[in-house]
Amino acid sequence: MSYIAKPKVTHPGLPRNKLGLSVRDYEGVVSTLCAGCGHDSVTAAIIEAVFELDVEPHKLAKVSGIGCSSKTPTYFVSQSHGFNSVHGRMPSVTTGANAANRDLMYIGVSGDGDSLSIGVGQFVHAIRRNVNMCYIIENNGVYGLTKGQFSASADIGSKPKKGLPNQQEPIDAVSTALSLGATYIGRSFSGDREQLVPLIKGAFLHGGFALVDVISPCVTFNDHEGSTKSYAHTRQFYHHVVDMDYVPPAEEIKAAYAEGAAMPIELHDGSKIVLRKVDPAYDPTSRAKAFRYLREHFNAGEITTGLLYIDEARGEMHELMGNVDTPLAQLPMGSLRPARGELEKILKGYR
């Protein structure tokens, strides 16, 4: 099986967004992942997010590396440009693409193997540059395509289907990103669409590097008893600290929030996200406090989720570099050359 186009049957009653598109218009080809794979739920959440954000499909660029997660960009928004690169190198391709065209919206889809093992170097450096992108890690703790080896996100004591439990310290994408100064960090669960969709929307609109680490169970190799990345385990130890609502530009915040629990944050495009603190002790604007909280709850075996950190003040890559607003790739070629006669002046220095 190579390629199955999804038959396009749109119910006339389906809701349309501002562009007149239905959610079906944001779909891709039929997924070839295993039935029940968490990644398909993430794909569905991405589709919902871009549909609701009224994204013009051809203004979205999808980039991935290698692995089950990296296959998914073909499963959403067929009318977008996609780039399925090499293993662990999605961040560099996205960085270069963004450097050349800052006007597009970028989504990088990666996995725990792709981002935390072979690609850990590129993952951390994309964070340092604050590349304006939505970076999704579909995190299942195993290598699926090569049949079930542990990845670097596997927890100590987590049991594989065959063989001995993992003994190595896991790399936690969220606390790694926090320590590196990522400006938007969320964690969620493929089974929690209500939390995931607004997190992805916020990630798209955040002006900088936005990480969404999604626990996305592998039904074939890591969904058994004793695995810490199974549906059952994730549901049991799932711990919301901050949920969020997305409020489009020029719309009022309508929902009623309990005193002290709501925290509106304005994004670069004028839209807002309202953070709802489930645990009042959590502060998503303090790296130090967030780190401590995450560590303590990790030690207690909990999976802390929500929008865990946000910093809208720090400039993204282009601002840090001082680049023009026009995408570099769209500058007229003639304007990029020194004026007539300048060559002679330059060469004078070499005579």
Binding site: L104, A329, Q330, L331, Y350
Partner: protein
């Protein structure tokens, strides 16, 4: 015997002592006298304290390569004194700092040793340790000026230009020059029989290194994204690009930049960024050297298969592995030609000198976009980092960048359906769109198996159809890459064929062999795949001496594989000790091979 404008000066110093500016001053002063001159830097992979040499070849005949002679050795480094002394050509001179007299044991009867108390004089005239060290270097320039009759006016003028903003330094530097100059005039029979005399041969020339020239080419080509990881000997290419961009790519009103230079975390990321940027339509490039090519290989394969333009400058150094990072070689030819796993092959361009680095850089971007594939520009340390005298660059103001088969929004609007990998024109080159241009232009870029319509496939026939079409594109590349430089003598049986920086030495060797009545034809390959002209040239000859700077005859291998040349015809002359090629080597090897041929 008096020799005019045919003298080689070699200066042995310790790196980190500021000798580079003194040597540059000497080199440039000779150039300003209108005399062709070659400057070569033999430096260590080190920051301070190790031996370094600068070789100035004054060549009235205008040759471009180094010589294998040393007429005047300036031995400023005690560590290498014995070696430097041994290197002087019989009948030559050695100048040393006689503040500390050398042992008689090190003297040679067949050369003249000239002692100048440089340190002593500078200690008497200048204060501060650093200043004294710097001025000692400037003082030997003065002594050499007296010995070779170099124009003091030219030196003064250069100092005035260099220190225009620091006037007080002009006086102190001139004082140091005078110290050396006067001492030499008083104590030696100046000028020496080997000396310089003004000419008028450098008027339309510039002195520049290949990396700077390539950087300027990138600016003129309209490159906007440069991603790199620092590596010797390519670093100065990005330094040059940054410097030109700070002058020509900053909006004077807003102070905002129209370029992005990204220092990547490694070469894997650097090439990934280039591919991401070129996917978006920017002209993007990365400068690197052999180890970087090894790291980039996986991505280069993706670019070949997914058909993404990219320009990669490989400023080659001596391998394998870390090798000798500050020595030259042409040993990445094969690894660049076939970089990456699977069936891949890449367009290579071979500039011979900085002037060609400038033009080749522009050509590389045009070819990369025309052919939608990575183009690797194979320079080397000799070209990239040494001071070459080359004709002043010309720029055609009517230049229009060749963006290749790039569809505009209007063209897409009128199309029924767009398929990325369809060979519409029969030349193996499909049409390309840029993300964001038009909804109809969307396609998926992937390194996995794909059909001609751009879809994922694991079907053998569909896969093969695409990789076979890439072969057709390869033939199109063959027809549009730069033609070789070919020169015929009056004899037509034997020839020299070389590549890149081998040009200067081979050209000189051809002249000298010609003077000995050995007429050889000449072919300098400028690109891979080899054009028909290269094949025809080889076919015409009984023997072709393939001169290249690596151990394994990599160019010859390519000529056999891609050029389908007769192996019996191609005789390798290989030079790979890390030093730039010289004509004497070529002449000696050609004569040896010819003698063998006669014996057979």
């Amino acid at each position: 015997m008096t020799r005019i404008n045919d003298v080689v000066i070699k200066i042995a110093t310790v790196n980190g002592t500021g000798s580079a500016s003194a040597n540059g001053l000497l080199h440039k002063a000779i150039f300003r006298m209108g005399i062709p001159v070659v400057g070569k830097n033999y430096f260590p992979s080190n920051i301070q304290g190790l031996p370094t040499w600068y070789e100035i070849r004054v060549t009235g005949d205008g040759y471009q390569s180094r010589s294998n002679r040393v007429d005047l050795m300036v031995a400023m480094n005690a560590q290498t004194y014995a070696k430097d002394l041994a290197e002087v050509t019989p009948g030559g001179w050695l100048l040393y700092d006689s503040t500390w007299p050398r042992g008689q044991l090190l003297n040679r009867d067949d050369i003249t040793v000239l002692g100048v108390p440089l340190a002593k004089m500078c200690n008497e005239h200048f204060d501060g340790v650093r200043t004294r060290i710097l001025m000692k270097n400037i003082a030997y320039v003065g002594a050499i000026a007296a010995l070779l009759e170099i124009d003091l006016e030219a030196i003064t003028q250069l100092l005035e230009e260099t220190f225009a903003a620091k006037q007080h330094l002009i006086a102190s530097n001139m004082e140091a020059i005078r110290l050396g100059y006067d001492y030499a005039m008083e104590n030696f029979a100046c000028p020496l029989p080997s000396k310089v005399a003004p000419m008028d041969a450098t008027k339309d020339q510039v002195v520049i290194d290949g990396n700077t020239a390539a950087a300027l080419g990138c600016v003129y080509a309209g490159a906007t994204v440069g991603a790199w990881y620092p590596i010797t000997p390519s670093t100065s290419l990005m330094d040059g690009f940054r410097s030109f961009c700070s002058r020509y790519r900053v909006d004077p009103k807003t102070g905002k930049r129209t370029y992005a230079i990204i220092q990547a975390e490694d070469e894997l990321a650097a090439i990934g960024m280039v591919l991401g940027a070129s996917w978006m339509g920017a002209r993007a490039f990365t400068p690197t050297s052999g180890p970087g090519i090894s790291l980039m290989s996986e991505f280069i394969g993706l670019a070949y298969y997914a058909e993404l333009p990219a320009v990669i400058f490989d400023v080659q150094r001596t391998g394998p592995s870390t090798g000798m990072p500050t020595r030259t070689q042409q040993s990445d030819i094969l690894s660049c030609a076939y970089a990456s796993h699977g069936d891949t092959k890449h367009v290579l361009l071979f500039p011979a000198d900085p002037a060609e680095c400038f033009t080749t850089a522009v050509q590389a971007f045009d070819l990369a976009e025309r052919l939608q594939t990575p183009v690797l520009v194979l320079s080397d340390l000799d070209i990239g980092m040494n001071d070459w005298m080359v004709p002043a660059f010309q720029w055609d103001e009517n230049y229009v960048p060749d963006r290749g088969k790039l569809l505009s929004a209007d063209e897409l609007e009128e199309m029924d359906k767009f398929y990325r990998y369809l060979d519409v024109d029969g030349d193996g080159i499909p049409y390309r769109t840029l993300p964001g241009t038009h909804p109809k232009g969307s396609f998926f870029t992937r390194g996995s198996g794909h059909t001609k319509l751009g879809r994922y496939t694991e079907d053998g026939d569909e896969y093969q159809e695409v990789v076979d079409r890439l072969l057709l594109k390869w033939e199109t590349a063959r027809s549009i890459v730069p033609e070789p430089e070919i020169a015929y003598s009056k004899f037509n049986k034997a020839a020299i064929l070389t590549v890149g920086s081998g040009n200067g030495a081979c050209r000189e060797a051809l002249d000298r062999l010609g003077q000995q009545n050995i007429g050889l034809n000449y072919c300098r390959v400028k690109a891979f795949p080899f054009s028909e002209a290269v094949k025809e040239f080889i076919d015409k000859h009984e023997v072709v001496y393939v001169v290249e700077q690596n151990r394994d005859a990599q160019l010859r291998t390519l000529l056999l594989v891609d050029g389908e040349a007769d192996p019996a015809k191609l005789v390798s002359l290989l030079h790979y000790n890390g030093m730039p090629l010289n004509a004497a080597f070529v002449i000696e090897k050609v004569r040896e091979e010819m003698a063998k041929g006669r014996a057979a």
